[in-house]
Symmetry: C2
Subunit: 626 residues, 2 copies
């Protein structure tokens, strides 16, 4: 660690222990007050600096890096509103449980709150939306202050990582001179607490080596207590109509653990598009395909009443599924979540288990295996769900494959089909994430679908995608609507600046497409000015300003060609598909009509189904497929 | 007020009393949760709705409207990170004392903090950065709840207006249905507290007419107590080397009041570019021209030591002036400010008077007039400052007029000279506001120069300018650098959407020009990547995407022609001038060298000056001018 003066030594120790604690990236913006931190970052081996101009985009870039790498990422801004521009991403990170270390450079205490330029109250700036906020002491570089700097760094990373992961703020007061001018301080003035001790000297064993942080913090998954597992297993065993529901959840260990639990229970699984369950080599045999479409047959919900539901992950993307869970409040509904965040907007939970999802799956599968259910093999209930899902999916596929204009649902399906194994698909909020949930049904190749579902904002999505690409180097696609794309147009700057590739599919329906699905659409005098809100923007100029290639395919073949080329050639590419908002509602309705209701849900079959699901015989499965 | 259901009645009452309290504009963004508020705004006579897509830009647009109109402006966003994107402008409004009514739509209490989509903790979202935050009760529409809605609106406007003016947050929980569907509620169900009472009936006199708010709130200027005025007048009278320093301050009554006080004291006035004193028909005879340049003769500061300083307004833009005030801590320095905000980063105040600037000027001038100083007419001290300023200004003008490449200082001077009377010039932070302060020295025509000097951010400046144009209809120019322009490119959307004119002068030096003036410039290995930060952006595409005309003049004649055409033809125009950051530093230094030091500051003259200023004779003024 190089340091010309005490302030640089202090700040250098802070950054060094962030890196020793596992931080590999910092997303930062130019500024004068933040210079000591920025220079310490630039000097720190093992840390990559990503410079941005717009702090809002910088913060979402960091969010995308942290989300995709599943590791804490640092953020740095100079004092003033620069730090406030981080707030949208900080709030998203808080609800999406993404670890961020937010470094805010500040004036020293004696220059606060007295009209000094570019100085605002930054203490606890993000309010309740960080897991921890520390307003640091002014820099000093004796041993105890270096220890304080390093401890603070270690602690920040530990807190950011601990479930529920999230952002922390370190507010760092910095004095003039802000540049690395020698002030007479030398490393000999202070025994750095991470300096290896001489063999025979002071410190002795127990002193850390230079490779490790001053304080190594271990965070472990919250495992459910054995008696809770036993109790839960006992409660689930008698269920005859069990259902597993998995909302957004991003843990690579979860899919195989969940699959094993589903096998042990022999229950069908409704897997959100963001659950990580739809793509990959794990056993996907009990996942109900096209569940969002299937559940739209609301007339038949009484036939499908579960008696027990195990819920994992965040609130599902599908509104239909949410209402389904709300309707079936009579069932035992167990919410498993490792944070005291009470994921139950449906007010239908009967139990909440505050434990890690993966660990709970493993423990529960183990407990169930020790006393397996009678019979074995897929129960009629489970087979019915799987089969019905498969049939709905087949009908949906056939419908999508038929010739027709650009349909937003099919765009999502095509993108998920074209993406090479290992691709990260970032979904914009509002319609793209819903269309992926409804129409991108699964593949054995591993794909990751990510979205900002902490607060479901349309802001910062371009930067999130570029951050994901930056941190992983994986092929990255972004499915996004025009309002969300416009909202973070500034995010595109990072692509050229940092040589990043991102294959953007821009669904341009000139306005807020989701509103056409909402009751607002029935109030035409207010609709376009307040909700539809067309912008009339032609994005070619903006895309090209940022060095992107801009394509406007007119046919599905041209669309596929452009998207494929985006994956093959890399770079920044925008494939813009023009659609119509009102037509989009009709096309969605046509898609549901093409696959629902299943033929054997009609009249007599419906009654048969109800009997079948209540009894052990299963005539429904014997009915002709269509 | 039209209302189909109780929620619409409640929300309608809230909006109606905002308008009856003086709110004329609302800047809002599309959303579903906010629909009742948006529709109530659209229906409200006397309120103009300005729709934006990017909430950050929307908030700065509202800030610009409120700043330019000097009236509270409302802001509305739907729930989630939409509201967080308001934060940068809210913070700026807080420090710049701009009244904003921030309406944040929220889920109702029962859907908070349980994983409901697009729901974040919005209670006290802006922390310490609002003057008041209220989390409203769920809507209901009996008489007492309508009274509560109206009172809350009146109170919000009153608090936002009261010095120090600033933002307030009303967090409004809204339930389904969010659209105006009849629920059986009718206006007959509740006696609206603002319904005119029948002549013979209940309510009687004292009940408000429908034209006025439920509670009329009066806010008055804080006048200094007479004994304080007398005491201050007595303290100032003996001063022989008095100085008035006016920082940023926007009160149309201030310039004449200050001019009268300066006359009563016969003191010179150093007037910041944002003080409102440089342009207009008031007596500008005691304003020291080119004070920022004059004070750069730091070697001569001991000759210019004041014995008393009266300070008005926010922290001056000129760093040189700040250091000058800091150096002369031995003087009586009185800070006059109507808020408990302690405007003294120099730590040089000896007195703080918490009173309105204009009222204090008037009271003090009155007290001084009742016992005038001996002599009368300009003292030698005052004449020296005025004359020295005039000579520096003349030298500076001559230097700027000489042929040469594009110099950023001259761009500022030319723009201020070209602007028609009544123009609002919005200055970007960092260099533009400093260049206007240094080089735009004054005209008798009224011009307003505005900048976001609350927190001095480079964010949201484009939207601030467009908001100023929208609220006033005045010719509006924006002087801005490329990083700041890029930061709020999204703000340009409002120009076409709302048919606004803005004459933008874009100083494109491809990066952060101010850093070349700072010590960072001496550290080349870090400079360009961390501070200079070139973006390489060609803004033509972005300007044209938003329907703007984009010009790149190559000569000063072409520059003037483009700027004049912008004022004459209206619409959105970007006149981009390319400059070089390093060259810009040299050109600034050349400008200072051309006017400093004044010839008679040399050797013997310097000694003479010191004697002159200490005595009553004034040989300096008799010396040859140059």
């Amino acid at each position: 660690m190089r340091a010309e003066n005490a302030q640089y030594a202090f700040v250098g120790a802070l950054i060094e222990d962030l890196v020793r604690s596992g931080v590999r990236h910092v997303s930062l913006c130019p500024g004068s007050r933040s210079a000591p931190l920025a220079i310490a970052c630039a000097r720190q081996p093992g840390l990559r600096s990503w410079l941005h101009i717009d702090e809002r985009s910088a913060a979402f870039f960091a969010l995308g890096m942290a989300k995709a790498s599943r590791e804490p990422v640092a953020l740095l801004a100079t004092s003033g509103t620069a730090t406030v521009n981080f707030a949208p991403a900080v709030v998203e990170a808080s609800y999406a449980r993404v670890p961020l270390i937010v470094l805010t450079a500040d004036r020293p205490h004696e220059l606060r709150d007295c009209g000094a330029p570019q100085t605002i109250d930054q203490v606890r700036l993000y309010g309740e939306h960080v897991r921890w906020a520390a307003d640091l002491a002014p820099a000093a570089a004796d041993e105890s202050m270096l220890r304080y700097a390093r401890t603070t760094a270690c602690r920040a990373v530990a807190v950011a990582r601990l479930a529920p992961a999230g952002p922390v703020q370190l507010n760092v007061p910095l004095r003039q001179p802000l540049v690395p001018l020698a002030d007479g301080w030398s490393p000999d003035d202070a025994l750095d607490p991470t300096t290896p001790a001489p063999a025979n000297g002071r410190g002795g064993d127990g002193r850390p080596s230079v490779e490790r942080p001053l304080v190594r913090a271990a965070s472990v998954r919250r495992a459910p207590a054995p008696h809770e597992v036993e109790r839960l297993a006992a409660a689930l065993r008698p269920a005859r109509r069990g259902l597993i529901v998995c909302g957004p959840l991003d843990d690579p260990a979860f899919p195989p653990a969940l699959a094993a639990l589903a096998a042990a229970l022999d229950w069908p699984v409704i897997a959100d598009g963001l659950s990580g369950l739809r793509f990959g080599p794990h056993d996907r045999g009990r996942i109900v395909r096209a569940a969002d479409a299937l559940l739209r047959a609301e007339d038949h919900w009484s036939d499908l009443a579960p008696d027990a539901v195990l819920r994992f992950g965040a609130t599902p993307t599908s509104k239909t599924l949410g209402r389904f869970l709300e309707r079936h409040r009579a069932a035992l509904q167990v919410v498993i979540d490792d944070a005291p965040l009470w994921q139950d907007p449906f007010s239908s939970a009967t139990e909440v288990l505050q434990a890690d999802a993966t660990t709970t799956c493993e423990a529960l599968a183990g407990a169930l295996a020790s006393a397996p259910r009678r019979g074995g093999g897929a129960s009629g209930w489970t087979r019915w769900w799987i089969d019905a899902g498969a049939r709905v999916a087949a009908a949906l596929d056939a419908h999508l494959d038929s010739a027709g204009p650009f349909f937003e649902g099919r765009i999502a399906a095509e993108l998920a089909a074209l993406a090479p194994a290992g691709t990260i698909i970032v979904a914009g909020n509002s319609m793209p994430v819903r269309d992926l949930d409804s129409f991108a049904l699964g593949r054995p190749e591993p794909l990751r679908v990510l979205a900002n579902r902490g607060a479901n904002g349309i802001d910062g999505v371009v930067s999130t995608a570029l951050g994901a690409a930056a941190a992983t180097g994986a092929p990255t696609a972004l499915l996004i609507g025009d309002l969300s794309f416009y909202h973070d147009l500034n995010g595109l700057l990072a692509a050229r600046r940092h040589g990043l590739s991102c294959n953007i599919v821009l669904v341009h329906n000139d306005g807020g497409g989701i509103f056409s699905f909402l009751p607002q659409a029935r109030f035409p005098e207010h609709f376009e000015p307040l909700f539809g809100t067309p912008t009339g923007l032609d994005f070619r100029g903006a895309a090209e300003m940022h060095g992107g290639r801009f394509e406007q395919p007119r046919t599905w073949d041209e669309f596929r060609e452009s998207v494929r080329a985006g994956f093959e050639r890399g770079g920044l590419r925008v494939t813009e598909v023009r659609t119509d908002r009102a037509e989009n509602v009709r096309l969605h309705e046509a898609a549901w009509a093409a696959c629902l209701p299943l033929p054997d849900w009609q009249t007599g079959a419906r009654r048969a189904a109800r009997r079948a699901l209540q009894g052990s015989a299963d005539p429904l499965l014997e009915a002709p497929a269509r």
